[in-house]
């Protein structure tokens, strides 16, 4: 088990190195003078020169890179121009909001897509199968920001079932005591029913918008994988041994079919983290996505750089977890490693 963990960690290191190099390059690729960008649009030449020395932008590129690594190691991602606050602090404050949204969306997608995929495979060729295909194809064609807007219009403006898309909690409610930063968990832990229900209502539309977007790859992969497994030799043996349909489908087929689905979760997360930015914009969700978008509008570069780096590191960590979980589930990988 430990060996598996270590070997997976080892593969993550080149990724982290690549991520750091790319994010470094992104800041130095700014057209014109990077110092001018970091100083802001309204800066005087003097201010720009100050920033240049302050951020070490006058040094050679390798020196800058070393300084950059040093900064990262100390958790220094620079300061935001508009607020003057350290980017790191602002990201850490906003991260739970994005994380909660993304994880709830993923949970929703998995809970819908996987049973749908299994059903479509078991009832291949029937109307269930075709409906599944159409729904998932449509889901992946819809731009996630458009879906979000549509939902906001229909469910909030027209039907008034959903609350106003103004953030994590209604303005009249106060957030639950901070333990994890996840409103759902915190309110559950402190028995704060009002906050729990309030957060859930606010989460509903954005999470559903994101979930719809990621239904397709999950359902399609589950269906394809399930079909492949159902046609395989060992399922034939299982049927020939008279095992009950439930045992055949769930204990034998599904457990094997779920393996490629775990692998596809990596790609799904890539989509979700991207969709996160768009959904946060539509619903004014106070996460790091909205933070970055606002920074972009005001040409505030340090937050954008910090955002890209954070998302990338998060993504590498997520992929690591997925790899590890896969190793736990598939003995062939575990015992060979």
């Amino acid at each position: 088990m430990l060996k598996l963990l270590l070997s997976r960690l080892a593969t993550a290191i080149p990724s982290i190195v690549g991520v750091v190099i790319v994010t470094f390059m992104l800041t130095r690729l700014l057209p014109g003078d990077p110092a001018a960008y970091f100083a802001g649009l309204a800066a005087s030449p003097q201010a720009i020169a100050e920033i240049r020395t302050k951020l070490g932008l006058d040094k050679s590129l390798p020196e800058q890179f070393v300084a950059y690594i040093g900064d990262l190691a100390q958790g220094n991602l620079g300061n935001s121009l508009s607020t003057g606050q350290p980017v790191v602090a602002e990201i850490v404050t906003r991260l739970p909001a994005s994380a909660e949204l993304t994880l709830v969306a993923l949970l929703l997608a998995v809970v819908i897509a996987i049973p749908l995929g299994v059903l479509a495979a078991v009832k291949q060729g029937t109307w269930i199968d075709h409906t599944c295909r159409i729904v998932t194809t449509a889901g992946v064609s819809l731009p996630v920001f458009f879906t979000g807007l549509l939902f906001a219009y229909v469910f909030y403006y027209l039907l008034q079932w959903a609350p106003a898309p103004t953030g994590r909690l209604d303005v009249f409610l106060s957030p639950p005591t901070h333990i994890t930063g996840f409103y759902l968990i915190d309110s559950a832990l402190t028995g704060n029913l009002e906050a729990f229900w309030g957060s859930l209502r606010q989460l509903a539309l954005p999470a559903i918008s994101m979930a719809i977007f990621s239904l397709a790859p999950l359902a399609r992969m589950t269906r394809g994988s399930m079909l492949a497994v159902l046609g395989s030799d060992f399922i034939r043996t299982a049927r020939a041994s008279g095992l009950s349909p439930r045992t055949v489908i769930f204990t034998y087929a599904f457990r094997n079919a779920v393996l490629p689905v775990i692998t596809v979760l990596g790609m799904v997360f890539s989509f979700l983290l991207g969709a996160n930015v768009l959904v946060e914009t539509v619903f004014s969700w106070p996460g790091i996505g909205l933070y970055a978008v606002n920074a972009l509008i005001t040409s505030d570069y340090a937050p954008v750089q910090g955002f890209v780096l954070t998302m990338a590191v998060l993504y590498v960590a997520l992929n690591l977890t997925i790899d590890f979980v896969y190793g736990l589930v598939d003995p062939r990988v575990r015992l060979d490693a």
């Binding site: 080149p14 990724s15 982290i16 690549g18 991520v19 190099i21 790319v22 994010t23 992104l26 800041t27 690729l29 700014l30 057209p31 194809t137 449509a138 992946v140 064609s141 819809l142 731009p143 996630v144 920001f145 458009f146 807007l149 549509l150 906001a152 219009y153 909030y156 403006y157 106003a164 898309p165 399609r220 992969m221 394809g224 997360f269 890539s270 989509f271 979700l272 983290l273 991207g274 969709a275 930015v277 768009l278 914009t281 539509v282 970055a292 978008v293 972009l296 509008i297 570069y301 954008v304 750089q305 955002f307 890209v308 998302m311 990338a312 993504y315 590498v316």
Partner: protein, 281 residues
């Protein structure tokens, strides 16, 4: 050629939806090429008196906050959106397919470098990377093309590499080498043309994604700027008015987006069925 057409007709008859996709594609092409000519109004013409009017006989899709005709804007936006998508797909193909076949054919360091590059790109959530690239390169349309191409690079490289690898020792490649062609010539003149059909399938499959990507970037304010007519930016403008009930400003460009992506997805599926049904999931 004839067997291919016959096979194409068989696939189309089995799968009428693909025929529908081809029809839609033709419609989009017409809109892209003839858009400005066909538009009933000048898409840039503002008319304060006619602002925020719902769909009517005069304005099929209604008007926006500046009184511009939305139908004309959606129609004309086709050109910009499809151009951006085509350009990024072709750029991704050039970058990805060329490095991919080189990696698959030569192996060794070429393979390692291309692989490392692709892996580094894939270590990022792709849309986030695109955001970072456009922010770094500058808020221009050309940078949207470049960013979208970069994030699609790994996919093309991977497919091209696999295909080149398979063909490396194939008969026709041997023959080309023996006829005295240099390695580059073999690569570009023989292997690359041979994998074109599969690359075309990839390209049409990623067109839909490229359109979504470009629209997403312009939705958050990157690349395309007002008053340009582009579907993503039009949805963004319309988003401000959703809460006050003017739904048509965001809806029609959004539907156009959806239809275009849907069309290209179906097209990609259909092309794949025609060219290589074994690739089906």
């Amino acid at each position: 050629m004839l067997p291919l057409l016959r096979h194409a007709r068989y696939v189309l008859s089995e799968n009428p939806v693909t025929g529908l996709a081809f029809g839609l594609f033709a419609m989009f092409l017409v809109a892209a090429i003839l858009g400005p000519v066909l538009a009933p109004y000048n898409p840039m013409q503002s008319n304060a008196a006619m602002a925020l009017k719902p769909p009517s006989a005069a304005h099929w899709f209604g008007t926006d906050q500046l009184g511009r005709d939305i139908f004309s804007r959606v129609l004309v936006a086709t050109r910009l959106d499809l151009t951006i998508a085509f350009a990024s797909v072709i750029l991704a193909f050039l970058l990805g397919a060329l490095s991919g076949v080189a990696a698959g054919y030569f192996g060794g360091w070429t393979d390692r470098i291309v692989g490392r590059l692709a892996d580094t790109i894939m270590a990022f959530p792709l849309f986030v990377l695109a955001m970072g690239i456009v922010a770094a390169l500058g808020n221009e349309v050309i940078n949207i093309v470049i960013a979208t191409a970069i994030i699609n690079f790994p996919l093309y490289a991977r497919v091209a590499r696999a295909e080149a690898n398979v063909r490396r020792d194939a008969g026709f490649v041997e023959a080309a080498r023996l006829s005295g062609n240099g390695e580059t010539r073999v690569l570009l003149g023989h292997i690359l043309p041979n994998i074109m059909p599969i690359m075309m399938v990839q390209m049409s499959l990623t067109m839909g994604y490229a359109i979504l990507n470009a629209a997403g970037l312009s939705f958050i304010g990157l690349g395309v700027r007002p008053p340009a007519a582009e579907w993503g930016i039009m949805v963004a403008e319309g988003a401000n008015f959703i809460q006050s009930g003017e739904w048509w400003i965001a809806l029609f460009p959004g539907l156009a987006l959806m239809l275009a992506v849907f069309c290209f997805n179906l097209l990609g599926d259909g092309l794949r069925d025609i060219i290589d049904p074994r690739m089906r999931t």
